[in-house]
Symmetry: C2
Subunit: 156 residues, 2 copies
């Protein structure tokens, strides 16, 4: 098998959540909890800050980050509040073969290498690997969300 | 600076597009070109196939892949059809500090470790690093798309 790329952080997250336990599992957070409460910053290292030019025109960004607190991958996980195991690729669990996380955040503003964001579901100090603009092609309609939908229905 | 994670492919893409030149830049593709024409497969290596269990209930998946043909990062790029340079993080260019790509694909079906997908904008043999279910939290409304929107307007 070809080896994959070796990555390096381009910056990190400044968040009100200091530890994984501070972060409610998204499925259990009050409605719009993350959108309302979770404001923070992404601080991009000075040597990469020029790469942010023009990003401020976008309302949302995709952040790919390192699940740096995850220890060990699993192929099956039991998501919070569930009893049945699911394949890890059918979940957003941190315990993945490649510890990559992804969040779509609202971009409130940019000041040089610092992005102010809301909708933050990341802990303080999370290493950021990539930032991309969120475009119309990332916005899908008529989606089905498998076990996640079944769970939400059942919990009502 | 902390080093980032070392990644390994979990599978690869089977696509009708054999080389980067076969792929129209998304901004120039005919409307719904990718959705209609670009059907292919993601073949997950047998040792990771159990991680796909339950993914078939989702209509769309997020694929994080290695831009394995990209040689060298740039902080500013001129997107196809543009004249002005943009910060690389304000684009989906492959020439990024960490060569990670992201596509949201429609999941047509799963047969063991093989996912049949449409909306494919990836070339044959692309190494896949992670697969995640696309959920309601990835679907943002009232989006603004900065220079991309300005471009589209100007080209009409």
């Amino acid at each position: 098998m070809r080896p994959g790329p070796r990555l390096r952080p381009i910056g990190f997250v400044r968040s009100p959540f200091k530890a994984p336990a501070d972060l409610p599992p998204p499925a259990f957070a009050p409605p719009r909890f993350f959108e309302r409460a979770a404001v923070g910053e992404i601080e991009v290292f000075p040597e990469f800050a020029a790469g942010l030019e023009g990003l401020e025109g976008f309302s949302h960004i995709i952040v790919i980050f390192h699940f740096h607190k995850a220890r060990g991958a699993k192929l099956e996980v039991v998501p919070p509040g569930q009893t049945e195991p699911r394949g890890v690729f059918a979940t957003r669990s941190p315990h993945r073969p490649n510890p990559l996380g992804l969040s779509v955040l609202k971009l409130l503003g940019r000041d040089g290498g610092v992005l102010r964001v809301s909708g933050l579901d990341l802990i303080d100090g999370t290493p950021v690997l990539d930032i991309k603009p969120y475009t119309g092609r990332d916005r899908k309609s008529r989606i089905r969300t498998g076990w996640l939908r079944a769970k939400r229905r059942a919990s009502r």
